[in-house]
Amino acid sequence: MNDRHIVKSYDRDLEAIQALIMKMGGLVEVAILESAQSLENRDEELAERVRKNDRAVDELEERVNQECARMLALRQPSASDLRTVLTVMKIGANLERIGDYAKNMAKRTGVLVQMTPIDGSAGAIRRMSMAVEAMLKDALDAYIQRDAELAQDVRMRDMEVDQMYNALFREFLTFMMEDPRNITACMHLHFIAKNIERMGDHVTAIAEQVIYLVTGEMPEDERPKADRTAVEAPRV
């Protein structure tokens, strides 16, 4: 297939909506890292900044939706162009959700800095969020490079995030059993860990959109899942 449209402005429009997604992706990546960093360093100022920056992500999503609606109405894209517009819309929604989770982490950081820190938890959460951020980066790279293999790799890596979440879940439970004064902090930390685990799911959804964009079909194989906290009692 030829890369260029006969109507050049069509190419420009398609590139523009993808550039918006990349910009959103960049902001969300920063939000993930900075929210975890603010928690680890007990940095209220940084947490506040993360919360404020989320507005930019929301605005970008709104613009992506508007531009996509415009393209559908004015250009009636088909085949890979149609898939590009559809995936841009879905990825925009996923990124917006990830941004919300990062914002929520930053909010809880604001509460947690008032309390005694729980040993080792901030570091573990930092590692987990770095894993998700790396997945997101690869998913967005896979998008730009139209690399279904890399996207598939990202999908598989979500299992590692799930396992980290399971470990934290058990750890927090132990802390709470040891000393009820830990409960408030551990509840917040658990929500944070769960938020990151959900981010991983949204990154996985983005990777699946990349596969759809490239191949025209959604992956059919069952994705391995390792979040077992909802189906079995933890052994502590």
């Binding site: 297939m1 030829n2 449209h5 006969i6 069509y10 009636q76 088909s78 085949a79 025209g216």
Partner: protein, 265 residues
């Protein structure tokens, strides 16, 4: 998604109405159609798309032997209608064309009244026993072509006096009046405004209940809207033939993709 009552445009496989095997068409030395195999199903709208000069109209005209009228044109290969070879010596092309009707790009009403334009075919094919029969056939055909309300008070005025869009619907009424089994349409809407186009598209959808419709169109969106099967022709080859939804969301051949997305192919 095919259970959805909104989308009645499924590619339910119907019986094959017209089958083409190894079809080659020559204009003198020039091979315009190259080894085309295709099965056109009954009760289905099949769209032929492709750039100008790709052979889609030439191939369409093979299906009711319109190419017979061009001296230097020769058709090789096998085309069957309900299993019968339409190029067999025993086949009368006039009878064939009553079964396989055609609507052309430009409206070409006879220089006769609206009534006679529609009634002529049924009359010469002996479909009407009486004037009352013929009245009924004419009215039914005009209603199906969404023209009845506009012309019922002036059936005796000349067909050529109608507007372009009305003339085209008159030609469609004329084509359906003989109750063809297959209707071939060569760019039926290229001279019509969007309203008349929508009316013709609605008609095509209704005709599908009973007939097999084959439409050649330069409007990709029209092909996507009206057809259940789409065939993409390029340089005389049938490049890709498949369910319309698949062709327009996930074509398998890169040439199809380039063409339908408006890239230089």
């Amino acid at each position: 998604m095919y259970d959805n009552p909104l989308t009645k445009r499924t590619a339910v496989t119907h019986e094959v109405k017209i089958s083409a095997r190894g079809v080659n068409v020559f204009y003198g030395e020039n091979r315009a159609i190259k080894d085309v195999d295709v099965d056109i199903e009954d009760k289905t709208v099949t769209a032929f798309i492709g750039p100008s000069g790709c052979g889609k109209s030439t191939f369409l005209r093979c299906l009711n032997r319109m190419n017979d009228t061009i001296d230097i044109c020769s058709v090789k290969g096998l085309i069957t209608l309900d299993g019968e070879d339409i190029y067999a010596p025993s086949i009368d092309p006039v009878q064939l064309r009553a079964k396989v009707g055609m609507v052309f790009q430009k409206p070409n009403p006879f220089p006769k009244s609206i009534y006679d334009n529609v009634g002529y075919g049924p009359k010469i094919h002996g479909m009407a026993q009486s004037r009352a029969d013929l009245d009924e056939i004419v009215e039914r055909a005009l209603r199906r072509a969404a023209l009845w309300e506009e012309v019922k008070d002036r059936l005796s005025s000349p067909g050529t006096g109608l507007s372009g869009g009305q003339q085209q619907r008159l030609c469609i009424a004329r084509a359906v009046a003989t109750e063809p089994e297959v209707l071939l349409m060569d760019e039926p809407c290229s001279a019509l405004d969007p309203i008349a186009t929508a009316q013709v598209e609605e008609l095509i959808d209704e005709l599908r209940e009973q007939y097999s419709v084959v439409i050649v169109t330069h409007s990709m969106q029209q092909a996507a809207r009206v057809s259940q099967k789409t065939a993409f022709f390029h340089l005389g080859h049938l490049v890709e033939f498949g369910e319309t939804g698949q062709i327009f969301t996930n074509p398998h051949d890169p040439r199809t993709e380039s063409y339908i997305t408006g890239r230089i192919g």
